[in-house]
């Protein structure tokens, strides 16, 4: 029998070598390269990937923005951004290697020919750096600019290599606009080439939610309406709008946080086990949850807007006093809602969600509150310090998981107190948690869309949000209704009090 030629055999020399997540040669184009996101997140993420040799040697970045700048000026600006915001020490040799592939194109796409400059630059990178026609287009631009760029670049796709498009949130401003945007993008790009980014999904602790649920046999049997009393998900920020008045006045908390981050956290908490960890298996399960989700009515959605108050002892202005905000603005900076997931696992189990700006502290948590023990055989006095079991997933800060359990207070008699058993992510694994953008950019280069949002997911999220905000068009809220530095309007407390529950104590 003749042996197959070596070129068709599997490479035997790879046996035993661990798979490394290194991307293929490619060029990444960042539209909106002079913006805050590029400097604070994208370039520090690229540097962190380069620091760990996760970028291919044949890699290039093209920054595109309106601001006139030379290649060298852009490089220097990004070098400073990496030095200021990077999580790793700054190593000149790492930067030099990355900087060799950095180019800049000053273009406003309303200019005739602006897109051709970008294409020419990318073609030149192919020749100079061997980026092989592989393209990542990162749209870090305002929503109004997305369509123009998609059409311009979609019409100029390369014939060789792959093309992937990363679209920043917000993806549309309602269901109709999201559908329209999906249609436009899909005219030029296949769904598997579209990476709608929600950076929350890139956070280690969010991914750990899936591991916690589906790699441990002890949680899943009790992860349902039989044992769970309710779920509370909090995305709290102590910051205000930080100069983003133009964006926030349009979006409000519901479009900024609820439509994407919060609903994704609900979906990850409530989803059924996927059959595998492939992109479509995971997203299929999330979509089922989003389809099954509803809020029981306007009474179960609370909105608020902060007035003046104190954060960390410092006096801060109210939302309407922030620069760029209308003095009679009715934009919500706080949203709380009760949601239900109508399926066998979760029927009648409330998911309480809340998000707000200028709350007392920054915190993102998912709290699974279990039902009380049916018949504790202790005297009532001894149970005074006992609270229900809560599995608390800390997304940020203090990344980790805590379980609140009842324990006997040492000493004579029998007194029970609730104590927390903590698993701190940074305590068990001290390799340094990668920034969400590092993970997501690399995933995109590798073509893995598991942690990105699919078109139908986005549309389901918008459908729910549209239903939540529809009644708001009819009434005029009495804003401001909570002081900066407090946990939101009184109506939010009432939302849970009506059900005989309360928000978690902090």
């Amino acid at each position: 029998m003749t042996q197959a030629p070596a070129s068709t055999q599997e490479n035997p020399l790879l046996e035993g070598l661990r798979k490394r997540r290194q991307a293929e040669p490619c060029a990444m184009t960042i539209f909106g390269a002079s913006g805050d996101l590029t400097q604070r997140k994208l370039f520090p993420a690229l540097y962190a990937l380069a620091f760990r040799s996760l970028l291919p040697p044949n890699f290039g970045v093209v920054g595109v923005a309106r601001t006139p700048m030379s290649d060298d000026e852009f490089r220097e600006k990004m070098r400073q951004a990496v030095a200021d915001h990077g999580r790793d020490e700054f190593r000149q040799e790492v930067w030099d290697q990355l900087a060799e592939g950095i180019r800049y194109v000053a273009s406003d796409f309303s200019d005739e020919g602006g897109e051709q400059h970008v294409v020419d630059c990318l073609n030149a990178l192919d020749k100079e750096r061997g980026t092989a026609g592989n393209r990542v287009y990162y749209l870090a631009v305002p929503p109004s600019a997305i369509e123009t760029i998609v059409v311009a670049m979609g019409k100029r796709r390369t014939t060789g290599g792959w093309t992937r498009l990363i679209v920043e949130k917000p993806f549309g401003h309602d269901l109709e606009s999201a559908r329209h945007l999906n249609e436009v993008i899909r005219t030029y790009f296949e769904e598997n080439e579209i990476f709608r980014i929600d950076h929350y999904l890139g956070k280690e602790t969010v991914q750990n939610m899936l591991v916690l649920r589906f790699a441990n046999g002890i949680f899943e049997p009790i992860w349902n309406r039989q044992f769970v009393d309710h779920v509370q998900i909090t995305v709290a920020e102590s910051l205000g709008i930080e100069g983003r008045a133009a964006f926030f006045e349009q979006a409000g908390a519901v479009r900024d946080i609820v439509q994407n981050h919060l609903l994704q956290l609900v979906a990850l908490t409530a989803m059924e086990p996927p059959i595998d960890f492939s992109a479509d298996s995971v997203r299929n399960e999330k979509v089922k949850v989003l389809k099954a989700m509803h809020t029981p009515g306007p009474k179960h959605v609370v909105r608020g807007q902060y007035g003046p108050g104190y954060i960390e002892g410092e006096e801060v202005p109210g939302y309407r006093e922030e620069p760029g905000v209308a003095p009679d603005s009715t934009t919500e900076t706080y949203v709380a809602a009760k949601l239900f997931v109508d399926n066998w696992r979760w029927a009648d189990t409330p998911f309480y969600i809340r998000t707000g700006k200028r709350l007392p502290r920054r915190e993102t948590t998912i709290a699974i509150q279990f039902k009380r023990a049916p018949h504790p055989p202790f005297e009532i006095d001894s149970e005074e310090g006992l609270r229900p079991n809560v599995l608390l997933v800390h997304i940020q800060p203090d990344e980790g998981v805590s379980l609140a359990v009842g324990a006997k207070v040492p000493g004579q008699g029998l007194t029970i107190r609730t104590v927390h058993m903590d698993f701190l992510y940074g305590g068990a694994f001290r390799t340094g948690l990668p920034e969400a953008y590092e993970r997501l950019i690399l995933d995109c280069m590798l073509g893995d869309s598991t942690l990105f949002t699919r078109a139908d997911e986005v549309e389901e999220q918008w459908a729910l949000v549209d239903a939540m905000v529809a009644p708001w068009k009819r009434d005029h809220p009495n804003f401001p209704n909570y002081a900066a530095g407090t946990w939101g309007p009184a109506a939010a407390e009432e939302l849970l009090r009506r059900d005989g529950r309360s928000w978690r104590r902090h």
């Binding site: 030629p5 035997p12 070598l17 760990r52 040799s53 996760l54 068990a428 001290r430």
Partner: protein
């Protein structure tokens, strides 16, 4: 180091130390472990071991048990010291602590270490055994510790006559998973050679400028993987500087920095067997010739 102690003394001291380091009003210091790391450190390896282990606890929170054999000590006793190494979590107030237990095994205790360490292993977590220097194959101390560990980590470049000792190491492979730091050092070059496939499918020679053990491992690896005799030509060098297969130069593919701590740290993250390495080690045994 306290002299003539018992394991109960060690356990009590650990408990006291944990309690004492938390002041009223402070966040509790968390004890975190992902493994028990035992290190067998003969006297001439103490400095090197200390250097490698510095910072390792921060990367791999574990209960570390350092065993210092002193077979020539006239006493039949244990001396011990316990230390709680606490690290601030980046930007947070909470501290995470790992326990380091140093035990001097005096006299006959040097050849019966298992009963000393077994009570101190963290239950249900993997046990790694780092053996500094040449493994004394057949000696009771190695035999005992291999039986309680899940993974043996060696650096065969520390062995004076590795080529002969691999045959004995092969005998251990059925009992314990083995990691070799010398083998880990060849990884970037193995990746570089793998990138030359299929041009090297019929290779007949490999030229390595590097230390003897690493060169030997690379030569045996290529022979084993290609299923053909590949002649090794070695040029002395302090570390691997060149690998050439039939005149084709391999470009090393490096991912991380490679200090001794980095290399050990990487081995502590691996749980599976490395079949390619085991094949290389077994190729040294007389049965394979």
């Amino acid at each position: 180091m306290a002299e003539n102690v018992t394991i109960r003394d060690v356990e009590r001291e650990l408990g006291d130390l944990r309690a004492a380091t938390t002041q009223p009003g402070e966040h509790p210091r968390l004890r975190t472990s992902v493994m028990t790391l035992m290190a067998w450190v003969p006297p001439n390896w103490v400095d090197a071991a200390t250097e490698t282990l510095a910072g390792l606890a921060e990367r791999h929170p574990s209960r570390t048990i350092l065993l210092f054999p002193q077979p020539d000590d006239p006493r039949d006793a244990l001396d011990a010291e316990v230390d709680l190494r606490c690290f601030l979590r980046g930007g947070e107030e909470q501290q995470v602590c790992s326990e380091v237990i140093s035990i001097r095994l005096c006299g006959r205790r040097s050849s019966a270490p298992a009963t000393v360490v077994e009570p101190l292993l963290v239950a249900d977590l993997p046990v790694f055994l780092r053996w500094r220097g040449q493994c004394p194959f057949g000696a009771p101390e190695l035999e005992e510790l291999v039986d309680i560990a899940d993974r043996l980590v060696v650096d065969t470049s520390e062995w004076p006559d590795a080529e002969v000792a691999y045959e004995r190491l092969a005998e251990l492979l059925d009992r314990i998973v083995v990691s070799d730091i010398a083998w880990a050092r060849t990884e970037p070059w193995r990746r570089g050679v793998a990138a030359l496939w299929p041009d090297v499918a019929n290779a007949s020679s490999v030229r390595v400028a590097g230390p003897p053990v690493e060169a030997l491992l690379l030569g045996r690896w290529l022979s084993a993987r290609l299923g053909r005799e590949v002649e090794l030509q070695r040029e002395p060098a302090g570390e691997i500087e060149l690998v050439e297969v039939d005149g084709r130069q391999a470009v090393p593919v490096r991912f991380e920095r490679e200090s001794s701590s980095d290399l050990l740290s990487e081995q502590l993250e691996i749980f599976s067997r490395d079949r390619a390495y085991e094949e290389v080690v077994r190729s040294f045994s007389s049965a394979a010739i």
